[in-house]
């Protein structure tokens, strides 16, 4: 068969119809990935608008733009949106789009579950934002400490929205993580043994294991909060023998791994793109891979460092302090590997590399302010001040937004087939980098001067006004810089220079297919003979007898977990509306729980069970044998 005819046949098999129904039922990982990216960017803009509203209030002392209650709702929505509905989903978007292309598979291992994880992400976000529309948004900060969040102090629906929206979102993250794990352990191209895996696969799988292990703790915390608030139990209520600190333990057992969930995949992306621009393989591949995994392992055991101020035994505090300092070692290994790669390479400066360099600078500052807060006396002095706000923004914007921007400039040509504009990229980078530092560096001094976080205004006698003005100016510059990149993307998507399949002369498999990639990936399932498939002599698609075309249906190869030896042919799911139907049923379910309509809850649980059964019901007659 000629290759054009083969490609046409594969397209017919894999393509979803270009109709509304087709777009609601598609399970293609590239579509799901792009939806994740766009939706997470919209949540970034929402959270950004909330941040600017907060800055408008804090620019000058004694401002009365927002009342305390509105201020509380907006800073809580800002934190919750950025941490839960932007930072992790944007990375899931990249991993969704890239992982199957990186491993030469035609889709992720569980395509329907993948589509489901996106729909749940979207609808849980809509559920959360419904609270803002009725004026009862969560208002107790993103970690929602009890007892302030119990009914006595927070009688409205605010914290019910918080607890239920988070439980809803954990479904998306858990399902998505399981899908990544099965994909990475089962679907890699023949020959891509663990020591040849692109580093993004290490960080994505570590992130996924952390999600699987840590999220149930958040689910339980939110469930207990709901029970305490509405059904009279006493988990967090000391009058009934409960313990408010239990919330903190459950929340931070989840919360600190979450920091690595929104950090590790970003480092994985940097480890992919930085060596390409340095024009050499990464220095210390094995060290970076092992450091990634160890960050995850130790990251599970440091949650108490968020709670040094609550009073605990010396020994337990010392252990957690030591673990917290140890963890910075693993990040340092990665930083040195990147610096050495640049040092010994011949770097080509691009917007993407600029953002990567900005990231390295910011993560060093954010890491250092993290190391000092791992020292207990220092933490006692500065916890709940703007020093911590500065730290969290250096690590979250520095270690998530900047790598995400680097990744956008690097992979957007692959997704759209068009190059982004470099001049606009340069403007965007400098505006964001300068704006960020002007905005967030003074927060360290505000914290040292004693300004507490989460206050809605402050008296002019404290003399914090000047530095707060600087913070606001910086925040506005940062926002303008981000908008420049968004405009750049919208313009370049249609009218940028054609990218070709491998504009950066990169080494990994996603650059082997055309840009944008065909719906089925590559015509022949590639085989891999080294760590840098496109930089070696081996022809990945060499397949004279068309054995690895697999065009009898939606098929791809399943391989062993360690050595990636092909052991089976994997039949992939057809397009289906069940993921969306199940998500809608879940949305109705959580709404019924919110309204405490218990019979409706029971009925909808039945509907959910039927949806799952319908989803899993085998369509035996359709199978080609």
């Amino acid at each position: 068969m000629t290759s054009a005819a083969t490609a046409a046949r594969l397209t017919r098999i894999w393509e979803a119809p270009h109709t509304l129904w087709g777009s609601l039922t598609t399970v293609d990982h590239k579509t799901v990935g792009k939806r994740y990216l766009v939706t997470a960017m919209i949540f970034l803009l929402l959270g950004g608008i909330e941040a600017l509203v907060l800055r408008a209030q804090l620019t000058s002392p004694e401002a009365r733009l927002l009342g305390p209650e509105v201020y509380n709702q907006i800073f809580t929505m800002h934190g919750v949106t950025m941490i839960f509905w932007y930072a992790a989903p944007i990375l899931s978007g990249f991993s969704n789009y890239l992982v199957p292309l990186l491993i030469g598979a035609r889709d992720t291992a569980l395509p329907r579950a993948n589509a489901f994880s996106y729909w749940v992400f979207l609808f849980s976000g809509l559920f959360l934002y419904a609270s803002l529309l009725i004026g009862q948004a969560p208002h107790a900060g993103w970690f929602a400490y009890t007892p302030y969040t119990l009914k006595r102090f927070s009688p409205g629906l605010n914290m019910d929205f918080y607890a239920l929206a988070l439980i809803f979102l954990t479904i998306s993250q858990t399902v998505g993580s399981i899908n990544f794990l099965v994909t990475i352990f089962r679907m890699r191209a023949p020959g891509m043994s663990v020591n040849r895996m692109p580093l993004l696969l290490y960080s994505t799988s570590t992130m996924s294991v952390l999600s699987v292990l840590a999220l149930p703790s958040l689910t339980l915390a939110c469930l207990c909060l709901e029970l305490d608030r509405n059904y009279g139990t006493h988990f967090f209520d000391s009058a009934g023998g409960g313990e408010p600190l239990l919330w903190q333990h459950l929340f931070w057992f989840f919360g600190h791994p979450w920091v690595y969930i929104i950090f590790l995949p970003a480092t994985g992306m940097i480890s992919m793109l930085l060596p390409v621009f340095a024009r050499r393989p990464i220095v210390g591949y094995a060290y970076v891979a092992v450091a990634t995994v160890l960050t995850g392992v130790v990251g599970l055991g440091v949650w108490v460092h968020h709670m040094f101020a609550v009073g605990m035994s010396q020994v337990s505090m010392s252990v957690f302090s030591a673990a917290s300092i140890t963890i910075s070692l693993f990040t340092t290994i990665q930083v040195f590997a990147w610096v050495a790669t640049l040092w010994t390479g011949r770097p080509v400066m691009t917007t993407s590399l600029r953002f990567a360099l900005g990231f390295i600078g910011l993560i060093v500052i954010g890491g250092l302010s993290g190391v000092v807060t791992a020292l207990i006396p220092f933490d006692w002095q500065l916890t709940d001040t703007y020093f911590i706000v500065a730290h969290i923004h250096y690590v979250l914007i520095g270690a998530n937004l900047f790598p995400v921007m680097a990744a956008f400039y690097y992979w957007m040509p692959k997704m759209t087939g068009r190059m982004m504009n470099e001049a606009m990229g340069r403007w965007s980078f400098w505006l964001m980098f300068i704006g960020f530092n002007v905005g967030f560096f003074p927060m360290h001094f505000l914290g040292l001067a004693g300004m507490p976080r989460r206050i809605y205004t402050y008296p002019s006698a404290m003399q914090w006004g000047d530095m707060n003005l600087a913070v606001t100016v910086g925040a506005v510059l940062l926002a303008i810089g981000l908008l420049v990149s968004i405009v750049n993307f919208i313009v370049s998507r249609k009218s940028g220079e054609p990218a070709g399949s491998n504009p950066w002369n990169a080494d990994t498999l996603e650059w082997d297919v055309s840009s944008p990639p065909p719906v089925y990936g590559s015509v022949h399932i590639p085989t891999v003979a080294s760590r840098h498939p496109l930089w070696d002599e081996h022809d990945e698609e060499h397949d004279p007898n068309d054995e690895r075309v697999l065009e009898r249906g939606r098929l791809t190869l399943a391989t062993t977990a360690l050595d990636a030896v092909p052991v089976a042919v994997a039949r992939m799911a057809e397009d289906t509306v069940m993921p969306l139907a199940l998500t809608l049923a879940l949305t109705a379910f959580f709404t019924a729980v919110l309204l405490k309509a218990l019979w409706l809850v029971a009925g909808l649980a039945g509907v959910i069970a039927l949806c799952v059964a319908g989803w899993l019901w085998p369509k035996i007659e359709k199978v080609a044998s």
């Binding site: 291992a109 569980l110 579950a113 858990t174 993580s177 399981i178 794990l181 099965v182 352990f185 089962r186 023949p190 020959g191 699987v212 292990l213 840590a214 999220l215 149930p216 703790s217 689910t219 339980l220 915390a221 469930l223 207990c224 029970l227 305490d228 009279g232 139990t233 006493h234 988990f235 009934g240 023998g241 409960g242 313990e243 239990l246 333990h249 459950l250 057992f253 085989t527 891999v528 003979a529 081996h538 054995e547 690895r548 697999l550 190869l557 399943a558 092909p566 052991v567 089976a568 042919v569 994997a570 039949r571 799911a573 069970a609 059964a613 899993l616 085998p618 035996i620 199978v623 044998s625």
Partner: protein, 199 residues
């Protein structure tokens, strides 16, 4: 890769492992939910003067439930044993028996609750809250396991190996054994341990 050329890909079997790997990770995340609940139980115990505040929960019904669930794991394995010998009908009967045992378990749990609720309510104190939360969430997991087994029983064949991209029966049985194992832990931590402490 040199050996890729010699591989006869068209002779490879259908992949059936993805579903089992996925359910393995799902069981792990569910296990962490119970870990978090047991942590909460012992953390709340640490702060209480006496734990449980009244008498420890009564043993006989919990032990009866333990026997029921453990035998249900055995009957499920018996069904697998029949299936390996291609005795489809016998296997189906054993699955049905397993489902029956699961329902009996839930019935006994209702009896246990009716007795227990006379002295302790979820709203009485922290102990009541965590006790009923752990046991009720376990009960919901039994319901989920039963739904899985019912789904399997409704399938036209229990183990259509060459046809399906996953092993429904195998996956459901993994989940059922997990639910059983959790009840062993519950009996040990919630029912036995307080008695051992009291001496």
């Amino acid at each position: 890769m040199s050996d890729a050329a010699s591989l006869r890909l068209d002779q490879l079997p259908w992949d059936v492992r993805r579903g089992s790997q996925a359910i393995g990770w799902f069981i792990l995340t569910e296990a962490m939910l119970f870990v978090a609940m047991f942590f909460s139980y012992f953390y709340l115990a640490r702060n209480a003067a006496t734990w449980p505040p009244d008498a420890p929960p009564k043993l006989p019904l919990a032990l009866l439930m333990l026997v029921i669930l453990l035998s249900s794991s055995a009957t499920l394995e018996k069904a697998k044993w029949h299936l390996r010998r291609h005795a489809e009908t016998a296997a189906r009967w054993w699955v049905a028996g397993t489902i029956l045992l699961g329902i009996v378990f839930l019935g006994v749990q209702v009896l246990e609750y009716r007795d227990h609720l006379r002295s302790l309510r979820p709203t009485s104190d922290a102990y009541g809250s965590i006790f009923y939360t752990i046991t009720t969430i376990h009960g919901l997991h039994v319901v989920l396991g039963l739904l899985m087994l019912l789904f399997v029983l409704a399938l036209p064949r229990l183990e259509p190996r060459t046809r399906l991209p996953y092993h429904p029966f195998h996956n459901a049985s993994l989940y059922w054994h997990f639910v059983d194992a959790v009840w062993v832990l519950i009996v040990f931590c919630l029912y036995l341990l307080p008695r051992l402490r009291l001496g």
